[in-house]
Structures are given as structure tokens and as C-alpha cells.
Amino acid sequence: MRANHDAGVSRWILRAASIAVCLLAWQTASTYHANLGLITFANVPPPTEVAAAAVDLAQSSKTLSHVTSSLRRVAVGFAIAAVLGILLGLAIGRSRRIGDVLLPPLELLRPIPAVAWIPLAVLMFPSSEGSMIYITFIGALFPILLSTIHGVEHVDPRLIASAKSLGGTRAAILREVILPGAAPAIVTGLAIGMGTSWFCLVTAEMISGQYGIGYYTWESYVIQRYADIVVGMVAIGILGMGSSFLLRQIGRWLTPWHSEDGR
């Protein structure tokens, strides 16, 4: 136990040190306006300037609205994507016919980047809130869908055969064997989907007129407040990382048989 605990602490120290080294390198490069040929740090704000901008943002009365707007958009878009992605994934993974009907249009939609959706999203949804949620939704949908299909198709056929031998009906096998069997893959898909949902946030909030961390970042670019851009980026990174972490914890709690051999 003791050794385990110490190993855990030293790993956290290592992780923190890694971030500190990155920050230091950035500070040095920005302070000396380092020109590395391929990229230049001449106009990149150093971390100290970004920190000052972050303090400004933290003291601003708008901050809470920025954060809650973004959280709500991601949460709603992601939740719809999770429900739809898992349901579609189960259906497609279990039935070749449903797969034949549903997969071709989905495969056509999959490579379309979030930015390309903006004009149509604005046209399709009466409110800009709806358009923004749609873009975070479309970002999360495909990783969840594809992971679920993969998980369903890779459930051990012997487990399904055993369940049939024990009298399991199709519905019972789906609920008691397929769903838990695919659960680890689904959790992975959800964690990736959460990331891509945040990934699409700036794109989505380009439509927004007022609030949102993505909007804040975009607005800072438009009015050339470069330190604020980085603050927005870091905020999105932290929020995205936090929600993925939360999701993995929930996943671990939902699949206790699986997490034991996790790292």
C-alpha cells in the first residue's frame, strides 16, 4: 500500500513538473521573441501576460455567464449525442439490416467539419442557441456512435450463446449481455465525444452574440486582444479536461468489473 501511495505521489509530481516545463519554455520564447524559423513567438503573449488577462476575466461580471452558457451548450449537445449515439449504435451493431439502412447517410455526414455546418445550422434552427447546441451535438455524436457499434460487435459470441442456452430472449440478451459487454467501449466513446464536443465549442459560439467561453475567445481574436485568446483557450482546455475526467469516473463507477485491471 505504502509503496503504491508513494508511486502515486511521484507520478503526480512528474505530471505537474511536465506542465511547469512547458510554461517555462513558453515564457522564455515569448520574452525573447524567439523566432524558430518555422514558427515565431514574436507576437505571442507570454504566460505572465495571459495570467494577468485571466485575473481580469475572473474579476469580470460576465465570467459566470460565459462559463455557464458554454457548460449548458456542451452538456445539452453531448447528452443528446450520448442518447442517440448509444441507441443507434446498439441497433446498428445488432442488426445488419438496420446498419445497411442507417450507416450510409451517417458515413456521409461524418467527415463534414463543424465549421461547415454553421450556415445550415443557422438556417435550420430558429434560435441561435439551438444552432450552437446542434454543433456541439454533431461533434460528439460520431465518436460515441462508432465506439458503441464497435463495442456491440465485439461482445464475446460465447457469452451470447450461453445467455441463449439459459433462456435469454433477444431483449434480455441486449439488456443483460450486449449493453454491459459493450459498456467499456461506450465509455471510451463518451470520453472522446466529450472532448470533440468542447473541440467544436468555439465554432459553435461564433454564432453567439453575447456569452460563452468560445464566443469570448473568438471575440478576443476579432478585436485583437491576444492574451485573452489564450485565456479562452486555456479555459476551454480546463473545462474539457474536467468534464472528461468526470465522465471517466462515472464510467469506472458504472463498470466496476472492468476498471480493476485499468491502470
Binding site: 464475446d156 459470441p157 460465447r158 457469452l159 450463446a161 450461453s162 445467455a163 441463449k164 442456452s165 439459459l166 433462456g167 435469454g168 430472449t169 434480455a172 443483460e176 449481455v177 454491459p180 459487454g181 459498456a183 463498470t255 466496476p256 468489473w257 472492468h258 480493476e260
Partner: protein, 280 residues
Amino acid sequence: MSGRERMSLSDTGRIDARKVSVRLGRGDTAFEAVKDLTLSVEPGEFVCLIGPSGCGKSTLLGALAGHIGVAGGELNVDGEPVQGPHPERGIVFQHHTLFPWKSILSNVTFGPKMRGVKRNLRKEQAEGILNLVGLQDFLHRYPKQLSGGMQQRVEIARVLVNKPRLLLMDEPFGALDALTRMNMQELLLDIWSKVRTTIVFVTHDIDEALFLADRVLVMSQRPGRIIEELKVPFARPRSAEVSITPEFGELKRRCLSLLHTRNESNALPRLEPLGIQNVG
């Protein structure tokens, strides 16, 4: 107990196979795994199937379980043709097929739950059968927290809780170490003396077959048929000492010579009872 007395204890679990053929694979790669196989098993009898690798023993078991369709002939249990899997024809595989996400107790209550047995009653039934296999203290563990031998005991309990007419076992102890394996064989005989059912047990271990069975059926190379039937006369309950008697040695010699003459041609790839390759 003599064989005749045991048979009279139960009247279900009779197997009649007449000229049964089973084909595996699709299209050009299809082949006959079992051909013109005829056998009959009495209710409550313990039969072991032995034969060379890939001879179709497991395929026959899969057909009895209802996982593989019969291409020709008749395969009846208690006069009814086998059609699809059914809890009355339970199967135990060599490799673990317990649900990893369910506790030991929930694995065993799965069958009763599917039949709509009330929660309290199915828990009671499962605890009773787990008691019988000596796992009453492990109800809330997950399968992978148990040893291989214990997991196989759960598999047996999970099938027996449904009071099946047939208990089909596909090399159930094949992956266990020698000592665990011996204990499991004795445990199985003990359980079988208490929960009477017909057992068809596939193995490639001659000692195991002779120790367990009322009757040993020897199969030919693929396409498999029954080429020899050996009655095992040892009185029950049996103990491990039976394997050092001269009669045991004589029967073993018979089996070896039957298997040996047919082992000279190249061995065929192993078949799985579901017609799938083993991935585990």
C-alpha cells in the same frame, strides 16, 4: 447404487440420435463435421464422448444444445426434436463464459430470472445450488476474482439451477491443473448423485472419461460417428483409487488402441461447438 436403480430415479433426459449429420461452414468451405451418427442415452445416464481432435465431439454437443442446426437425420430429446437453445439443455464450456459484469449470485440467478422466477425465490434457488458446489461464501464476488476451478463450479451451478434434462459439458476441466481437475471430477460426481440429470461429457482425457462415465463412446475421425461403446462397470460412489485397478487399465488400453490407430493421419483443426474459432 447400480446403474438400473439410478435410471429409475428420473424419467426425462433421454437422447435419441438417428443418422445425424451436421455441416459447418458456408459455401465452398462447408464440410461435414458429423455424419450418420447414431446413439441413444438413457435418462440420468452419464456418458463420456472421446475421440481424436477435430472429430466433431464438440459439434455434436453444440447440436444437442441447439446452437448448431442438424443437416440430416433425427436428433430427439425425450421424443422431441431439438430446436434452438433451451435452458433444459444446459451447456458448460471449457473457457469461461460467466458474465464478467455480474456477481456470482447474479450469474446463477440469470436463468431463473429469464424464466420469470420471483427475486426472492431465485436468490434462494441460486444460494442452494451454490451451496452444493461449495461457493456459498463467494456470492458477491465477480467471476475474475475466483480461481479457474471455482469459475467452472459457478458455470455448473448456473446451468443446474435450471434443473435441465441434459447437462452438456465440453471439456469443462480441460484448462485446469491436474489436482484441481481431480477435485472437480469428484465434485461433479457428488453433485450428480444429488441433482440427477443426464450428462454428456466431452473430453480427450481417457482417465477422466473412465472415472466419470457409465458409458464411454468413442468417435471416429471427422466426419465423426460412434465407432465403439464401452460400459464402465465400476461401482459408485467412485474414488480416485478406481484408476489403479486392473479393470481400469484394461479399459484404458482398449481406448488407447482405438484412438491410436486413427491418430496416425494428420490431426484436423479443433472445432468449437458454436462453429467459431476459439479466440480466448
